[in-house]
Symmetry: C3
Subunit: 332 residues, 3 copies
Amino acid sequence: MERVQAGHVPILGLQRDPNGPVRDGRFAGKHILSVKQFSKADIQYVFSVAEEMRTMVELVGTFDLLKGKVLACLFYSPSTRTSSSFIAAINRLGGGAIPISEVKFSSVSKGESLPDTVRTLQAYADVIVLRHHETGAADTAARYCKKPIINAGDGVGEHPTQALLDLFTIQEERGTLDGLTVTMLGDLKYGRTVHSLARLLTLFNVKVRLVSPESLRFPPGILEEVRAKGLQVTEHTSMEDVVPDTDILYVTRVQKEYFEDLKAYEAVQGSYVITSETMKLARKDMVLMHPLPRVGEISMEVDDDPRAAYFRQVQYGLYVRMALLAMVLGRA
Amino acid sequence: MERVQAGHVPILGLQRDPNGPVRDGRFAGKHILSVKQFSKADIQYVFSVAEEMRTMVELVGTFDLLKGKVLACLFYSPSTRTSSSFIAAINRLGGGAIPISEVKFSSVSKGESLPDTVRTLQAYADVIVLRHHETGAADTAARYCKKPIINAGDGVGEHPTQALLDLFTIQEERGTLDGLTVTMLGDLKYGRTVHSLARLLTLFNVKVRLVSPESLRFPPGILEEVRAKGLQVTEHTSMEDVVPDTDILYVTRVQKEYFEDLKAYEAVQGSYVITSETMKLARKDMVLMHPLPRVGEISMEVDDDPRAAYFRQVQYGLYVRMALLAMVLGRA
Amino acid sequence: MERVQAGHVPILGLQRDPNGPVRDGRFAGKHILSVKQFSKADIQYVFSVAEEMRTMVELVGTFDLLKGKVLACLFYSPSTRTSSSFIAAINRLGGGAIPISEVKFSSVSKGESLPDTVRTLQAYADVIVLRHHETGAADTAARYCKKPIINAGDGVGEHPTQALLDLFTIQEERGTLDGLTVTMLGDLKYGRTVHSLARLLTLFNVKVRLVSPESLRFPPGILEEVRAKGLQVTEHTSMEDVVPDTDILYVTRVQKEYFEDLKAYEAVQGSYVITSETMKLARKDMVLMHPLPRVGEISMEVDDDPRAAYFRQVQYGLYVRMALLAMVLGRA
């Protein structure tokens, strides 16, 4: 299998879209820390590579674009879903992984600082995927690390690869990002993914509708921020009013851990459950998304509806993470 | 190294037994959930592939039959032995693994259901090995998963790969399965492996002897089931009576966790210990097996006896698991 | 990529130093249990291979010298740093790893003995890296294991790969081991690494200075042992007296877990902190080392000083561990 030069030739001889973005290797050696670092052209770049990854996985499953590269998966707060996704991504590109999810037992528990930990791991690995419970941890790590850091979630801060895969899902499911009405539903206060997705959507011509109980409204600061960038946003409390005109329905999990009172949790948790009845209100081409895991926000009876895209969303995540790994390692 | 087509040509040019089973790829894309799904011909198929795996490992250690394939090792109740065996198996076939043994920290602990977890993992992996504490979990997972599920133990239910490796051990050690006297010893009530092995033995012409304390007798329901299928079974309490005529002595661990009372455990635990003295009663060609781990049921002084097959049994397990992976992935 | 014959040809066509040690494959199939097993010629052998590993990693990152080999990483007491280092090492040599750091959940917790565990793992893996909390565990494991065991730390006993990487760091940073003054600072009582390093240094023409608080002095028994072998050693309590003449300053972590009283810990912990002021006293070519993790013994302001070698030391560790793996597997 021939090896490709960084960003200059298509992966394994795929015919590349002549109208697609020029591959200038702009992400080679870069950290992926925040959605804020991505321009519209950057996102088109990521998606162009992610589509090639999709084609390659569908054709051959795995290929050796990153053969010999080693990924350190440093998870201070474990997330099977995200770490599995990155380990699968590096495996499908022919590279290897060092999974580190037992941070509580590690040097860190002996008092080692994050800067020392990443400076140790950069001696072993070519790229570090970091999940951390403290907001800003990825930025700190990046300041000390010569190898690319990919932020896989830091506290209530950023989770840029999730936001990119959410956006890529919309692109793949609908063929465009412009002209759509995107409805976000559920916990819009603590749901990190909807904040990041809203920021990315400011780059496109979309309408956003926010549906939540009063106690879980979208944070005013971020709302102001995205409106200042021209995003059309309206707030609602009733799901039934907005579902019929919705192109993308993005449902979030209401996280029990943010409630002091179990009753308050249950009241809110049950208030926006998507059922077969809800889907009858929706358009034939609506796309139903969820970052997963779900705990009842979408009834299992909806799973077989072709509009239910949340398991395909997982698959798109693999392609986006493969693309990001190849890009920061200078191979796409 | 040339790649082989599914089930049609021998692995890497090995001369295949012309009297062996026709390789029709019958397991491609199938789940491995229960010993009950295997006919005698199926077992011959598995063993024929497992013997090729043995030859290849002995010749070259590792080969690229499953290069590019990714195994998700999803262990809700951790088992170093079984997960290590599967990770070694996929490694020796050139593929990669996603080890997930920290299920308590994962999405599952956030309330995710098994169906959602396997539908997520099938986006990343080509095959899923599942261990779960609930009987029937593997069946549930299989209903929702498009990729093959291999049941690596579900509660007190099934552990089919263990039963197959036990049977393969007998085949390899004695050259046949027919005409043997198999004695099962120890905890026959809770010992999942002896139940599955007994079921598989109904396919062959063997005599089975069950030796246990009264409180740990083989479950009457399963006993009736295997007798109805024609298996000759007798029950005993004294080991000394049956050892001299035994071809295969299968010793099981008495699991402390099933006893409320430590004294009752100790009384039973010590009652059937295999020592050098026991081995003096046994035939020169007897095969001594144990699913491991042991906690004293076989004295360490027996380890150097050539009839002690329990560490070879571990090795045979690698070959059987390599065979099953190659088969469900359509490569054997 | 051509495969090389064990120890007979240079790795991937590298020009080998004609004055270097003859590669006779003397470590093929051997255990690495203690620094005491290494002669001066052995160490030159290890370092000669480690330098080739360094060259190869700098040139190509990863190469297939151990393609198809499987490493079992059996850690009874978890150490992210050491296990990551070995997993990276086998990955960069093209092999695979079975990480086992959850020993508390494993067969071991069901009462399995170390001899049984290693006899199980040798059926799956080609080499076993073992960390254990009990002194002597590696020797026990080696007695039962046909595959090479590499001791990655057993209790307060040995940690030979750390000692070898420490020595290799001195060699690489200063170009020689002879004629140097090596100062060891901090916890010299419980610090396993300084004991092993001192033993290795007896093979070379060096002066050793030991600086510690009274309560953490170097163990008299080991002091006597290394002096009997001709090592020139002096003991000190003041850092300032010895730093100016020091070639190698080896700082150790004061481990909180060894103190019953937090106050006593803090008094000692703060007594030998390396700061920019300390570095002003030091020679321009002094090499500052630390086995990491550190918890304040070296101020972060020193990190950018070119004499601060502790993160390079981590990198050298990768090369040494790659060398040891290749050697015991008969490939160097």
